[in-house]
Amino acid sequence: MGYDANLPVDQAVPSPAPERLLMKGAEAIAEAAIRAGCKNFFGYPITPQNEIPEYMSARLPEVGGTFVQAESEVASINMLYGAGSAGVRCMTSSSSPGLSLMSEGFSYLIGSEVPTVVVNIMRGGPGLGNIAPSQGDYLQMTRGFGHGDQKAIVLAPASVQEAVDLMSLAFDLSEKYRNPVVVIGDGLIGQMMEPVTFAPTVQSTTEKPWATTGKPPTRKRNIINSLYLDAETLEKHVLHLFEKFGRMEAEEQRAELYLTDDQPEIVICAFGTTARIAKSAIKVLRAQGIRVGLFRLISAWPFPQQAFQTLVEPTSAFLSIEMSMGQLVQDIRTQVAGRKPVEFWGRTGGVVPTSEEMVAQVQKLHHKLVAQG
């Protein structure tokens, strides 16, 4: 597929890319969004995700899109609300404190059913924290991070290629459910250089009869709104949203099971960067004869419980490994419901756990299990 100078700008296809490119995670996320048909990007500078807006500011004009540097994350998310209402594919990216600022607007996106994609490259917290990799927003993101009864799909890539694939899925899912989708990563995923393959550029084919594009005489006006003053009416609206959330929970669970088929003694539960490091630890531990496997969440919400439940019976114990102080482990405990031991180990403050540390933690838990018989 080549560049066709005869096409109007907004239909121009991006210049051909080699099948396989070596790209930095953040830039690959941005390029993947454009190839998924993202037309508008609104964002505010915050480390460690600045490569995404920088890339977008150079690349979007080439494909007839628009980059707007917003005055704040509050403005970004509300610009997104406007652009999403107009029915175009659009996104923002930010990092933890920026997401806190976006939480009001995020709730409006859900309440008004506006599809869009939000990327959170998480950093150390609380407060100003630091810019080092973190998974400390797991609970904030997976509980729907705005006010009110609301939920959103959260995707957690563990490699640059997976980030690319999940960006395009994120746009599709946001339109399928008319609900924002969040993609979470951390500074490591953003900075890492890896070879990636892009799927061909697509344009959204979803019909959007609800979009506010100007009311022709042939139809009723479209209203994008989350205000329902009457309690019974709002309840009905929320129940409608929960019918969608229920479908998401049933249909959008995604997980990877790694070396979990042989009645593992220990299954590590992790996502993103920690899951990736855990795989190296598992290779070492397996060589030592410890049957250890990995349960990796790809959808942080909905929690991939169908896959997880198959592990509870055959596994002796679970170890949640996080770059946070025990957030994912809360979901693991809920899922295990007391049937097996569930332990937590993590580093925080932006410290990335090493594979050696993970090996030591698993060995410790293994000794404990052996001692208990």
Binding site: N40, A75, S76, G82, G87, S112, K215
Partner: protein, 264 residues
């Protein structure tokens, strides 16, 4: 019945929903003026409204247009998102009150104006928070009693009222900024002209019309006394004026293009 003709009717850009505004409130006038302008310009099918939080939170019930309901203060950002996504022939306007625009949404309005977003913002300034029960607004007059300034606005504690039109007029990129009032027929006629000018200039850049308005309920006055009060108290501090027109940018708005070299 032969010689009877319609001399006044509801604009077809307004729905038949009954306004929820208090009797004598000027929101209704402002809605009608906007609807008439949209109708007369023949752009109903190309106009998208952005409604605020405040007394006009339900404005989406009244305009027979595609409408987006914005979060408190964020209408200019939402309008930006729409503007940057829709075909160029569309008209996007935001309707905001003084709490929405001049307090919680101060950042969004200034930056939308400064980017020169091709939108129109209609700013209803009635010097008070109407919907939440008459609290002090950034535009509340010195000494004015509200439910959160029971001793009158103390300028030593709260500063003076914010003059939005004047403030926006310090920026380079807006193409039209004007202040009108809705307090008597001649002002209403003028206000409609300002709204029309703003819409006509919208595709050139950021356009802004401030309308001094009444809140009889919040002010504790009758509708007629409110009109007099507005003219006597608000107009002297918020002069009725066209601040910016294309080609008539004030000194402060002169374009500056540096050559970006180290030495001249």
């Amino acid at each position: 019945m032969p010689n009877i003709k319609t001399v006044f009717e509801r604009s077809e850009v307004l729905t038949s929903n009954q306004f929820h505004y208090c009797p004598g409130c000027t929101h209704g006038i402002a809605h009608r003026l906007i609807a008439e302008v949209v109708s007369e310009m023949g752009i109903q099918d190309r106009t998208i409204a952005v409604c605020p939080v405040g007394c006009s939170v339900l404005a989406y019930e009244y305009f027979d247009l595609d409408v987006v309901q914005a979060a408190h203060g964020r209408a200019p950002a939402v309008a930006t998102g729409l503007r940057r996504s829709l075909p160029e022939d569309r008209y996007v306007f935001a309707y905001q009150g003084d709490g929405d625009l001049a307090s919680i949404g101060m950042s969004e309005i200034i930056h939308a104006a400064n980017r020169g977003e091709k939108i129109t913002v209609i700013f209803l300034n009635n010097a008070i928070y109407g919907m939440t029960g008459g609290q002090m607004a950034p535009t509340t007059l010195p000494g004015m009693v509200t439910t959160t300034s029971p001793y009158g606005r103390d300028t030593l504690q709260c500063g003076h009222p914010v003059r939005m039109s004047e403030m926006l007029n310090t920026l380079v990129d807006p193409v039209f900024i004007a202040r009108g009032a809705l307090s008597q027929p001649k002002h209403v006629i003028k206000a409609k002209k300002l709204i029309r000018q703003a819409f006509e200039l919208q595709h050139q850049g950021f356009t802004f019309v401030e309308l001094l308005s009444t809140c009889p309920t919040g002010w504790g006055l009758t509708p007629t006394d409110s009109m007099h009060w507005l003219e006597h108290n608000m107009v002297p501090f918020f002069p009725l004026q066209v601040f910016r027109e294309p080609g008539h940018a004030p000194e402060a708005a002169n374009h500056y293009t540096p050559d970006l070299k180290v030495h001249g």
